[in-house]
Assembly symmetry: D2
């Protein structure tokens, strides 16, 4: 049945993807995106949870400041978001959780799709497919440069399948449309709301990442590191560098000291670690002892414990660097991910389920990846409660890498992912 | 005679000052300012030298880029600058040198007034005098926050005196209206043009600096340090900090290493030194090994030789920091000053000359200052050729320090400075 | 047959071990040790290769200076080493290679035993077994604190077996008694002489390391890292720190800068790396800008390539640190090891061969270790030429760790290792 | 009268100097030296104060450890020091204060002579005067390399003068033979005992320092900086650098971090500062995360206040460096000096007093020096209580600098200094 379904829904998938691509929204500001998803799911008959009903507001990290939120809220209202919807989302409470209970005995499956865009100015050259096809971002400086427009379309496709085949399905379904994946800021808030507490099987994944041909999927991934993202502010005392150098408290030097010391955090014998100071700004004028400085840092470790070791070292170093130059330091934790350890037991199941798909041409048992993913909060919660979880890849050629102004992917991967998921859903049932 | 003169010209001084205050222009972009000064001097009968006739174009440092120059040129044309004047100035060749020859035997006196403004947004609160009086800067983000509007008015006042009393004066007069004093960028270009080569007495100075009461002036200053201003760019290689840390070449670390090492340049037994990294920016994203970094640095030393020692150490450290992280470094020298050693023999002369002034209430033999001044290129050139030179201070209360958004001074200091200078001019003659 | 052999030779093993323990000699100074081994092997009928016949003299690293060599040579002569033997060894050419050809078809087996001691003062308390039993080091400050006395005894035991059972054996045997394992200084010199070029099976190993009970052995090891050991000297210029700070060139700061930067060498995505500055000395007096400094450094990497990456970074940093402080740097490479990758195909063979040993109670397929071993040069050469190689562990309780003044092991492990090796030798034959 | 006196005592001065030169003793271990001085002064009729009667034992800094003290005490007893004298000195309470009261009205004059030697191995080449003349140090590794043997001889010469001319003198005299000047460790202990509390005129000085010809003296000096000498110990945790890098706490890195940061203490606008890390040692073995490190540091400032600023910065940096690497730090203050500001009013007096000396050929009003001197505690105490004080120089050629193994001076300077002092004493009287 699914082949027909996938073929028939493909035009809709394309339309959703392209519409969203033109209205990209940054993390915790996906007002319009949330609204569009929610309306669609509502129409299909799902039970909808939006805003503070979907996520634990206090668990969000790196929420934009009020000015930016308000600006985007007004813009979204202008784009047609209803005030009743906005009320629930206002203040950066975006994202939707949709549930469906077949009221038949069966497992509880969770699927997660991330929906946010990036602060990147999209290429406008003619060789960039979205530009050529006329669906380039209409928001200058914001871009779906990581494929979350496709992820959202995939989620809506799966939702349509559930609604359409509800009578033949068993168990329960929870579809999570998560805000603010970029920077690892949104998944924890949804996890803390409890949505993952009784999931039996949890599926999420990404298009692209590794350069597999379209049609190839990976049943699991290995290598997502636990990570913490923090912003650091040093505050010292300005002074005229020529006249009163001894009266300054040098925030630039505190940051510089911290940077050189952070990279020297001892290696850990338990597994790989990473540390990066990706950005630094300090000082105001050539002639003034710098009063302030700012750094964006990321720590990583093979496991949550190893990342915690790196983070703890980093925190001590940051405090010591402040003490070294007699300045104050404040740290803001703006993102966090855990490691992901997919359940290998899902590999044969996924492989077998997709065998009859005419879209999926090959299932790799696992893909080696790197980087970090806040879906880790969800996979770990599911597994902690006895469920199984995986993070899959859906192959597509990538003319340019992720987060690039010319990032693009083969749209066919959307249908392939939908087809893979619905075969997994059907396999999951027959699996009973 | 001068008392009457000063009293009578005071309304004009106020008008010039307030007009210029409303149209502040940054260094090497003083198109309108130069035009206004030039037209006034021309009217008085001075011989006028503008643009490449006034300065050695290639000796300028820290010239803004073409885009900014063009923008300001167009703006100045809009403000009424004549095209024939603009032709001479185009490309950042601002400033005027005005000469007057009495054709009577006598000394050659040089006076210098700096005319540029600062990239500071002027306060718009009602307790800020220029705001209250309606002559706040009309150029958002540009401000006469160091009193050069007053300096220019003083220069025009002195010019009026010379024109008016030409028959009673002897010798020659060269009035220099110098661009781009801020950052130590303009004086060398005028000096290199030869204007200081045969000056017998050279006078320049500053209003404010030390908090002397209005009416008090200092005949000389001690403590201006030689300095060099340089901008440094490090260029490395970006890499994903999680996936390929070993492939990056970290420009942020090169800058951080340089910063911590620069402040440790050994003290010099020959006299005070200073070093400051006033500004640093580096990196693009949290997760990327930073590809670029930028620093604004200033070195200082009690003498040119000691500053050269600091500069040489700094250059070696910058190169070594680049080598340390395998990145490239480029340095741009954007400003330079020398030390100033005023001629003490001018103290009794100035003191005596001003004794009969009803504006100047007290003459201090010297003021202890700090900081740096590119007038040093001029004083040193004059002295090298056998002339005498001084850098004076003209007292005024300052509610806020120089370079502050609320910087302001007592306008009375303008008349006082004019009166001091014209007594010196007259004294200079009788001194013959 | 071997059980009886091992039981019967055990008293001799103990005697050898204890005799050698009392006369410990540092790397490349094992004159007496080499002589004792050589005489024993000669007596047994082996073909003996000593001194420059055994190793490539120029490939040695970290050879002690002539004064120390001469002193030890004289001491060894005093201990009875014959002048004809000393002639071959003089100048630090220690170690023996003994070969035996059964002149029957069969594989060529190589075994390696390291023979050097450490610069550690042995404990003289009564709870230290060698002290209590009266065979404590007679050389104050030199000690067999890593069990190479036992290794040598094991080698002699195996040699006795070969000589005694020569008629039942096939193929060829090469026994390598290697000098200067500590610091990774001797194995390369023997390897470069060509002894490993046509070995079919290569065995070496260590007693202790992991705390396995006596009787347990590990057929292979995993985790020995490639490493480089270097000594670094910075040479600057002294100056009175109070009077002429600007005239000094600070070698202490060069070393301190290098140290802080070395630990920050970027992690490598290809595998674990290590860096350590284990020792630093600098400067002469409180009041003098330090003229000299010295550091002992070790780099490590999972593979030779990754270690080379670390080493290359370290070298650049050392040069840049010297440039930073305008001092000179010289580096001395005093030791090197490669990674070891044991042949897993030897595991079932060793396991089976030792099954009938009454000494070996358990064979672990592999032991996880860390650290580095210059036997790596040998294993890699054997494998490169098509042979198979392993590095084994022989379990013993260790009251204190290796390189500790109270280091000791259960002497029974010596007989167990001999018994393991002779079963392997016999198994190797039947294996034909 | 003095000419004859000085001429007559010169042979004795030479004898004292050469005897002491052969028996140099380090600071707080001048047992033999103190005894010889004391016996001589006692013989002359001075009231003698030795050991804890001369100094405040608890105020001493950098006292050698007990083992060293005991060793030197035994050696001194072997050299003939009487047990009754040793009793008073035992534990490092060396030095003598000798007082003389003429019981005639007059000023109270204080003179100070330092008596300790340095841990330097004296040159034994024939071109080194003491070697050639047979009075080279008999204590290998200890040497009078700063002329304190001469200072002591000068003091004894002055004492003889006082005793001999007691009837013609007025007022009171306090002669201080101070231990442990090197490292600034002894003067404070004598000052704290109260000896300087009511001195009217205080004289001390140094032979050499500046290369004035013999016969030239300087009445005062300018430039001795306040200073603090501290030893720093970092204590971390050792760990195998390959196996468990994350378990170490790196004391070497703490010291290296501190060193690079200390030199970057901001310059002070109030006057010159200095900082030096003269010595560093850290770590034990190449492969071990260093557990301990040690540094010898000196801070300096033009005044006590400015030195205190540097010291306070240094302390914060040392604590922060320890925190940076999670290790412990302890600081030991082993020496301290203050700035010296000689009384200019003594210049004409000294000049006039020495005018009639046939030994002193020229009196410079002041000598510019650098470095630090713990006599500062004495001069400052005298001045604080209303007295006047100076630190003089006595010219001599120096073939090699102070603290050099070949340090030597023209012995004639001893007589010259004695003659200068006795003319000052006589002038002081007539000054009444």
């Amino acid at each position: 049945m699914s082949d027909n379904f996938t073929r028939e829904i493909t035009p809709l998938l394309m339309e959703w993807r392209r519409t969203l691509h033109q209205k990209p929204e940054l993390g915790f500001m996906e007002y319009y995106t949330t609204y569009r998803i929610g309306k669609e799911l509502e129409k299909l008959g799902f039970t909808i949870h939006v805003g503070v009903d979907a996520l634990e507001s206090a668990s969000r990290m790196g929420v934009p400041d009020d000015l930016l939120l308000t600006e985007q809220e007004n813009k979204a209202l202008g784009w047609g978001v209803e005030e009743t919807w906005m009320e629930k989302m206002r203040g950066g409470n975006t994202g939707v959780v949709a549930t469906w209970d077949t009221e038949k005995k069966g497992e509880h499956l969770g699927l997660r799709f991330d929906i946010d865009a990036l602060p990147i100015k999209e290429s406008d050259t003619n060789d960039h497919f979205p530009s050529k096809q006329g669906f380039r971002s209409q928001e200058e400086g914001v871009m779906h440069a990581c494929g979350h427009d496709g992820h959202t379309a995939i989620g809506l496709g799966v939702a349509h399948f559930i609604a359409q085949y509800k009578d033949t399905l068993t168990g329960r379904y929870t579809l999570i449309f998560q805000p603010a994946e970029e920077g690892g800021r949104g998944a924890k808030a949804i996890t803390d709301k409890g949505w993952l507490n009784d999931i039996d099987q949890f599926y999420t994944g990404h298009i692209g990442i590794n350069p597999y041909p379209v049609g190839t999927i990976a049943a699991t991934t290995r290598g997502f590191l636990a990570s913490t993202k923090l912003n650091v502010h040093f505050k010292g005392v300005a002074s005229h560098a020529g006249m009163k150098p001894e009266e300054g408290k040098n925030a630039l030097l505190a940051a510089a000291t911290a940077a050189t010391q952070l990279y020297a955090i001892p290696r850990h014998s338990g597994g790989p670690t990473r540390i990066n100071v990706g950005k630094m700004t300090a000082g105001s004028g050539r002639n003034i002892i710098p009063e302030t400085s700012y750094m964006e840092i990321e720590t990583r470790g093979e496991t949550k414990e190893i990342n915690r070791y790196v983070l703890q070292e980093a925190k001590r170093i940051l405090h010591a660097s402040a003490a070294m130059h007699d300045v104050e330091v404040t740290m803001e934790f703006v993102g966090e991910t855990e490691e992901i350890e997919c359940d290998d037991s899902l590999v044969p199941f996924i492989t077998q389920a997709c065998e009859i798909s005419t879209y999926v041409t090959e299932v790799l048992p696992y893909a080696k990846v790197s980087g970090s993913e806040d879906a880790s909060f969800m996979t770990n919660k599911v597994q902690k409660n006895g469920g199984r979880a995986t993070y899959m890849l859906f192959g597509t050629e990538l003319p340019y890498g992720h987060h690039h102004p010319s990032f693009d992917y083969q749209e066919a991967v959307i249908s392939i992912a939908v087809d893979a998921y619905i075969h997994i859903l059907k396999g999951g049932m027959s699996h009973e």
